[in-house]
Amino acid sequence: MMSLHDNRRWKPRLLECEIPASNPKSLQISKPKKVNLRPHFLLLKFAFLPGFKYPVAKTGLPLWMLGLDADRLRADLNRLLAFLFHQGILDEQYLQLQQLQDESSPNFVSEVVNIYFHESEKLLRNLRSLLMDREFSDYDKMGIHLNQFIGSSSSIGAKRVRNVCVAFRAASDQNNRAGYSIYMHALYFLYGCLRALELLEHEYCILKNKLHELFQIEQQRLLAAGVRYPMLN
């Protein structure tokens, strides 16, 4: 149970890294993650491309097996997306983002999602510092932050994060209007807000982890479908 005077932040399990671009030209994987990345013949070529730091290993894997991996990964991707939609973590707006990505803008989704991560984490930090302030009374400011968060979440299709935010905003508006003046009530309200913030941070964490997973699979899929890479000009 979290007390108001507990200055230790409940540290959400946020991954520090950004989502790498799905365009292999700017791929910079410094170390392989826990996901199973099977090195292939073709990847030896990419070891010599500038800026491409992929841990290349010799392999006896024949080229004809590349296609199988790409298909398997595509299936994994679709399965994950279906799961995310089913859980309500993402909605159709995310598909809209994917549709807007093409050869002229090959990293659009990862760019937008990275901006979303930066902005969201800033907003969450702001919300937390507002609520941690014992003399907190600026509900308007909290409302402004929440509005921004709601807007950006709905723009990328982060449905659950958006809904939690909307509930948070509604609750804080209502309590604000009720005009808590007694210290005990104010404390209770602030505690309630902190709990709401925790829930929001939790949902955001889930979203971020899942999006990272999504992008990782997409990256691997692109690597496995190596022959279809546009070569550097």
Partner: protein, 189 residues
């Protein structure tokens, strides 16, 4: 230079304080083959148009032509303005009013976007001159609705231009004719 005939792309000015929404609308518009300028506030939008909020004539005297998109004589013209409603400082509605009050820019179609579905707000914007009101998040199907408004602008401009051409043409035809009536008058007299 700056001739309507050579201008193959429509130029849309997008206004939104949210970076994500700016990226989104920019991509949506570029996908539809529009040229896009995205700014983060109403005041920057007015600055870009050349309306400094003081004197409209200032734009003609201004030497900063590369930055402002003044009238058709300049190379960069704006064919449509799409703006978010909720913005700090100048709201999208304030921007709409300023555009419609300006003599040089009142004919530019303005579209408002908002994440909130408030009918009184929507009606007010439409009554005060907005062509469309989009609910966020904006989709490709919404952007497709912009084309008729942009085409309307082109037809008006073409009509104006062809009127001036017609006038010029008829004047040329008339000038040799003008000698005849004079000649006739002389004869009559």
């Amino acid at each position: 230079m700056g001739n309507m005939a050579t201008q193959t792309q429509f130029h849309v000015l997008a206004v939104d304080d949210s970076l994500i929404d700016r990226k989104l609308i920019e991509r949506l518009l570029k996908t539809s083959s529009y040229q896009v300028t995205a700014v983060d506030s109403g005041s920057k939008a007015l600055e870009f148009l050349g309306l400094n909020g003081e004197n409209e004539d200032e734009e003609r005297n201004s030497s900063v032509e590369s930055v402002s998109a003044a009238d058709e004589d300049h190379q960069v013209g704006v064919n449509l303005i799409i703006t978010d409603y909720c913005m700090p400082g100048m709201t999208g509605y304030d921007l709409l009013r300023k555009i419609k009050q300006s003599s040089s820019f009142k004919d530019i179609p303005v579209v408002i976007m908002s994440s909130e579905n408030i009918p009184s707000r929507i009606n007010r914007c439409l009554e005060d001159g907005a062509e469309e009101f989009f609910l966020k998040p904006v989709k490709l199907s919404d952007v497709n609705k912009l084309r008729p408004h942009l085409m309307k602008g082109i037809t008006t401009k073409n009509e104006m231009q062809s009127n001036t051409n017609k006038r010029k043409g008829s004047e040329e035809i008339q000038s040799p004719d003008r000698t005849r009536p004079r000649y006739n008058e002389l004869e009559v007299v």
